[in-house]
């Protein structure tokens, strides 16, 4: 499986994604600089975490205008799966490839900790390796992860089974600690209409090795490797 990782100025979690992709696919992804206007033939595009352009205008807003995003859009239209993690999710919403927006965390502070996610859809190349309803533990690390969309859009996402992951309380954890950022309906990740684009705030790439404290993120990368091989 050939994969591409897009690098914007200010992208900073590309290494984490590269390691996780390589572990699952057995092949190093290509790093694509944002000023490129074309993409090589790949089976998957990953937009990693970070602070593209410093998040100075609005998280993801400037990156969404980078030359490479035209090529990402075209690839997505051809059905090439695209996954945006954290800042990558923000870029995808700003680029209009996914609905809604990521606002400042409800607690107003950056939050880095493990969260628990319930797998709400196993019908996508990203999640088919998980069981529906399975609860996984992965970390979050963001300041602007508060998912927002209007009620009609949220209803539609739910109705079409496009909520991929939802924040839930872990074993023994109080409900109040489940949702780290105030996201509407505890949404942690969503799918596009054709289910070939996933945006999520948590970092499955940082939960792929027992020494990192958990391996629940492997399911996502293994799903992609299997579905797209």
């Amino acid at each position: 499986m050939r994969t591409a990782v897009i690098r914007f100025p200010g992208t900073n979690r590309e290494k984490d994604a590269v390691v996780a992709l390589e572990r699952a696919c057995g092949r190093k992804p290509e790093i694509i600089w944002h000023k490129e206007s074309g993409l090589p033939a790949v089976d998957l595009i990953l937009l990693p975490g970070g602070f593209a352009f410093g998040d100075y205008l609005r998280a993801g807003a400037m990156a969404a205008q980078s030359p490479i995003m035209q090529a990402v859009r075209q690839a997505a239209e051809r059905g090439v799966p695209v996954i945006g993690i954290c800042n990558g999710f923000q870029v995808l919403t700003e680029a209009g490839l996914l609905p809604g927006a990521l606002m400042r965390n409800a607690g107003l502070r950056f939050v880095c900790r493990d969260v628990h996610l319930r797998v709400e859809s196993d019908r996508s190349p990203f999640t088919e390796g998980y069981r529906l309803g399975q609860v996984v533990r992965v970390p979050v690390a963001h300041h602007d992860g508060n998912y927002f969309a209007d009620e009609a859009t949220l209803d539609r996402l739910e109705g079409e089974g496009r909520v991929a992951f939802r924040y839930v309380a872990g074993p023994g954890e109080p409900e109040s600690r489940a949702n780290p950022n105030g996201s509407r309906r505890d949404i942690a990740g969503i799918l596009s209409e054709n289910r070939r684009i996933l945006g999520m705030m948590p970092h499955p790439e940082d939960a792929t090795d027992p020494l990192q404290g958990g391996t629940d993120g492997c399911g996502l990368f293994d799903s992609m490797a299997r579905a797209l091989a």
């Binding site: 100025p9 200010g10 900073n12 979690r13 290494k15 984490d16 390691v19 996780a20 000023k35 975490g49 970070g50 602070f51 352009f53 410093g54 998040d55 100075y56 502070r109 950056f110 939050v111 880095c112 900790r113 970390p139 690390a141 300041h143 970092h203 790439e205 940082d206 792929t208 090795d209 020494l211 990192q212 404290g213």
Partner: protein, 729 residues
Amino acid sequence: MSEITPELVAEHGLTPQEYEKVLDILGRAPNLVELGIFSVMWSEHCSYKSSKKWLKTLPTEGPQVIQGPGENAGVIALGEGLAAIFKIESHNHPSFIEPYQGAATGVGGILRDVFTMGARPVMNLNALRFGSPDHPKTRHLVSGVVAGIGGYGNCVGIPTVGGEVNFHPAYNGNILVNAMTVGLAPADRIFYSAAAGPGNPVVYVGSKTGRDGIHGATMASAEFDANSEEKRPTVQVGDPFTEKLLIEACLELMETDAIVAIQDMGAAGLTSSSFEMASKGGVGVELDLDRVPMREEGMTPYELMLSESQERMLMVLKPGREDRARRIFEKWDLDFAIIGRLTESGRMVLRWHGETVGDLPIDPLALASPEYDRPWEPTPAAEAVAVTSQGDPLEALRTLIGSPDLASRRWIWEQYDHLIGGDTIRRPGADAAVVRLADGKRALAATTDCTPRYCYADPVEGGRQAVAESWRNLTAVGARPLAVTNNLNFGNPERPRVMGQLVGCVQGMGEACRAFDYPVVSGNVSLYNETEGQAILPTPVIGGVGLIDDIAHLPAAGLEQAGLALVLIGETEGHLGQSLYLRDIEGREEGSPPPVNLEAEKRNGDFLREQIKQGALAACHDLSDGGLIVALAEMALAGGCGATLRVPDIARDKMTQWLFGEDQARYLVATQDAETLLASARAAGVPAAHIGESGGDALTLEAIGRISLEDLRATHEGWLPDYMSAGVA
């Protein structure tokens, strides 16, 4: 040019004697630009004039040392072609004035010190001291400093993995923000700051220069004010996004052979970077200041030389490499300007649109920087304290574990991205932070430590203890302690008692570093930390770095399973002087700190490390603030498993001492096989005692009582978030 009046000299912080030296060196009166340069080069911050004499006594060498003090950061060999580059630096005053930006730019500055030398930063730590929680400013300062450290480090993408926080009224008017960065570089590709090669281009890269942080902006000089529209704040503003680009661009350029020398523009900006580079290389330099990229119009040579705008670097390139270098910086959308060249003159010549506006001899200025042997007096020895009360130990534990100095720091480190990079294998809250190396087998461990109340009561012992605690924290994760960086935070050195604290702490640190073969490779001195005559507690922070040879044997930080034997390593005397028990339970900040027996430290630590290497330990924790019972509670909370502790008969009538004493050179470990461990300890001459077992959901003191983990956890985790949210209306 404005006339140099005695007032103007004083406002630049130079004494009349120092100004006489200026006149001697120049053979004439300086102009304002030159006066500004002398002022910053001879400032305490740049010249270490009060501390130099004592810093020279510290051990700085060892087979592991590639570069000791004197460069941007220290460099040590890790083997297999790898080097660690690290340093700690203070940003105390700016953080008190503007906590967010002060702390943020502190992080930015220390990152630059490390990547300047060719390292990719891999871990950030910080040592913070705030005033009393009751002080009206404390909450605001905690909130701003933590957000600033996180805001910068998170955006740049370097994990913030460790540190320490204390609260004490002595910091009410003067908080301490010390930031440490550790980076990794190929051992054969370290970049230094000594300029070489007359004719070589001097290149400026990074952000444009603005009027922020100009030392002289605080001046009340009429001439200076006449044309400046307003007083700018002296605290610089950080731009972590630009810093991230600068890291990537510099490391990309460093993969070529274009760089002769490189130095970041930190304190005193262009002045100190250009001076230091030229002085170290024994060359002269000519700068065309009008070529410096400027953020605003109408800037003067004085402002350009003294600006402390952030995210800027100065480099000397090999001839003919300019275009290649320029392309890299253009790729990253950073400014790149050739602003001068090296000469053989030994002088710094500053030009402004072709006209010479400054002409200074480099060596005389750099070498003649003042060095003072300030009068000092030792701290009188404290009297021994008597503790006779034997109160309810579990109630005391409950109070301590939720007290400002021992409560969980989760509220802080959850605001720091401590996982980015994917190599954090020991999360914050434990003895030392651990970040895995690319080989997948080895790991770096780092920690920051100081116990200021010990240093205040006995500077020499406090200095020893700070080093010993950092050495123990590294040992507790199985790391071989390799070297330290230090951040000496003190009050006004012109007061003999304060100067005596510095002298004593440096003496103690030196003794401990020598005993452990644990040299000082970099550091920073921050003096004049006082407000209205109230000095801070002497706070010589040690940033220790060690290497774990095989992470397979890393013991857990907490008790993760029942049925393990708890073994106390090291000798317990029950020393309560200057202990947290005495301060927070009995309300007495008294006595002498626990003595540090360097031989016992070394023997016990080396033994423990060997046990870890052999895989004999399931969990390990060093004993420090709060003593044995606090350490056990921390291990139980960290691993989620309770424990039962047996108070030995000999300690029955001195139970408070036994449980809460802060004797040094001790560790609490959990093992499957106590018998073998005790036998090995006996053979090594290391005191060890089997004192309990893990298990259950409470901490039980046999024959005395129990406290549930749930209760302990609520108290431990609750204090800081409750304190911080109480400030929100």
